[in-house]
Amino acid sequence: MTPVIQTRDLVKRFHVPGGFLGRHPRRLTAVDHVSLAVRRGETLGLVGESGSGKSTVGNCILRLLAADAGQVLYNGQDILPLKETDFRRLRGRLQVVFQDPQSSLDPRMTVATIVGYPLRLQQGVKGTALEARVLAALADVGLQAEHLHRYPHEFSGGQRQRIGIARALITGPDFIVFDEPTSALDVSVQAQILNLIAGLQRAQGYTYLFISHDLAVVRHISTQIAVMYLGSLVETAPKEAFFRHPYHPYTRALIAAVPRPDPTRRQNLAVLPGDVPSPLQIPSGCRFHTRCPEVMAVCPKVAPPHVEMGPEHWVDCHLYG
């Protein structure tokens, strides 16, 4: 079965002004040859620290950013070479929910306008037909008709995120990027929103890319998990295999760092030494070697091999090469 969305060797670089009067701009590789696949009805959880390029991957798939190299296949078709006018026909099939529910809703528009937006722009739905669809979408996310003519500032953070989800779902999209949808919310609300997102997928068979820095959240919602470090993937696996047997030292450190609610056991957090290196100066060889607890002589010299450890379980590490 062709994945709904697949990236092949996706690369995105940014130019950072530097030097005297910006004469020597430096290149920052935010996404370095990332290849992912998301099958219909599944959720790929994309995990990484801030600055690892996980959001950039999402933005490149949605063509909010122009990728520098690689492919993004939507149902097998590369969408990156499409002209903007041709791609616009696909807009609305690929949707997004952002992190900050406050700034992802136009403060000068009412809920009715915001939620109906993709339908109106994509399919020209208007008037009572539009209102009916908006009401249905609001009902799906647990909001009522009385909310229709209110402004975003009249809602709580959780409700605003529901509005953002309703907007993303109203067209019945093939693929939805969730870019840290719960990290701006109160902990008590996070679970509600996560359950809503998961419930909608069960009911409608949606396909998700779920971007998060929080392994606990990703574990709750994903079927597949991919870990990014400094712009490239270090490990991808089905969820069970991922937590049962993580291979990459970085993945192991991440899993070990998830706090467990067990007061009888003293927490023994395995903290990685040092900070994430600057993406402007990515370490040679394996980019994780500066912090890796199991670093070997080969690591700083040679890029790690891409090794299959089990069904759909891939890891980029010299330990297994």
Binding site: N59, R91, L94, S103, S104, D106, Q122, T128, H149, R167
Partner: protein
């Protein structure tokens, strides 16, 4: 969509603005001044005791008194009457200039800020050239080149005011275009022009209203200055600046001639300035909610 006016979202926002305005004494003072000026301008035909153009040489240059509260000018015309009719002209100049300059300037600024790069450079360098002249001097030159008339003065003042709006809106557009709701609109299939018209400009509207109110004072002042040097409204039009211009010849002996039009300019400009200042606070979303 069929909802009663009282629950219409725009109406609720308006009511909130009005509540905040009423709670702010300075703002109310500005508003009262301007409403009074506006009412005076509108009702000049009924309120004014005389005809603003009627000559009566027998009554020339009379000091303020019971018959002529503000005195008369060198043609025996009643100055109170002329000041009241003058409000029509000055306010009209102010509003027309702000509509033209605010409209053109906002669109230019939004386009420059949104597209960035070459478009931005082209538009903003032209704006810089306009800004590099003192606005009064440039307006004078333009008005003189187009020929002295009220409409030419309006166009000249509007032209020099464009960069103020363009600059401010460009700055706002730079901030707004990075917000996620712009990306969300793009993902929903919105084109650039649609985004500028439906997201960027509406989100700059509050600042444009504030700047427009503050600039209205300046505009009236510059227009009056143009009339003062003979480039704007032409005599015998009862324009405040033109009246001061003639009145200054009589300033030594007939102080009332230039003083009353001057006081009205002062009051109106002050009214717009304090209202604009208060609106800046009232329309600020951080204070609103």
């Amino acid at each position: 969509m069929g909802i009663p006016l009282r629950q219409h979202p725009k109406w609720r926002e308006l009511r909130l603005t009005w509540r905040l305005l009423r709670a702010n004494p300075t703002a109310m003072a500005g508003l009262v001044i301007l409403v009074a000026m506006g009412a005076m301008a509108l009702a000049a035909g009924w309120l004014a005791p005389y005809d603003p153009l009627r000559l009566s040489l027998a009554e020339r240059l009379q000091p303020p008194g019971a018959a002529h509260w503000f005195g008369t000018d060198e043609m025996g015309r009643d100055i109170l009457t002329r000041v009241m009719y003058g409000a029509r002209i000055s306010l009209r100049i102010g509003f027309v200039v702000i509509l033209i300059a605010g409209g053109i300037g906002s669109v230019l600024g939004a386009v420059a800020g949104f597209y960035g790069g070459r478009v931005d450079n082209l538009i903003m360098r032209v704006m810089d050239v306009i800004l590099s002249f003192p606005s009064l001097v440039l307006a004078m030159a333009l008005a003189a080149a187009m020929g002295p008339s009220l409409n030419n003065a309006i166009l000249a003042v509007a032209f020099v005011m464009i960069p103020k709006f363009a600059r401010m809106v460009r700055g706002e557009a730079l901030a707004v275009k990075e917000l996620p709701f712009i990306a969300a609109a793009r993902v929903s299939g919105a084109r650039n022009r649609w985004i500028i018209a439906h997201h960027i400009l509406p989100n700059c509207l509050n600042s444009v209203i504030v700047l427009g109110t503050l600039t209205l004072g300046d505009t009236i002042l510059i227009a009056a200055s143009l009339s003062f040097i003979g480039l704007g409204a032409q005599p015998p039009t009862p324009e405040w600046g033109a009246m001061i211009s003639v009145g200054r010849k009589f300033l030594m002996d007939q102080w009332w001639y230039a003083t009353f039009p001057g006081l009205f300019i002062l009051t109106t400009v002050t009214g717009f300035n304090i209202l604009g200042d208060a609106l800046r606070d009232i329309l600020d979303p951080r204070i609103r909610r």
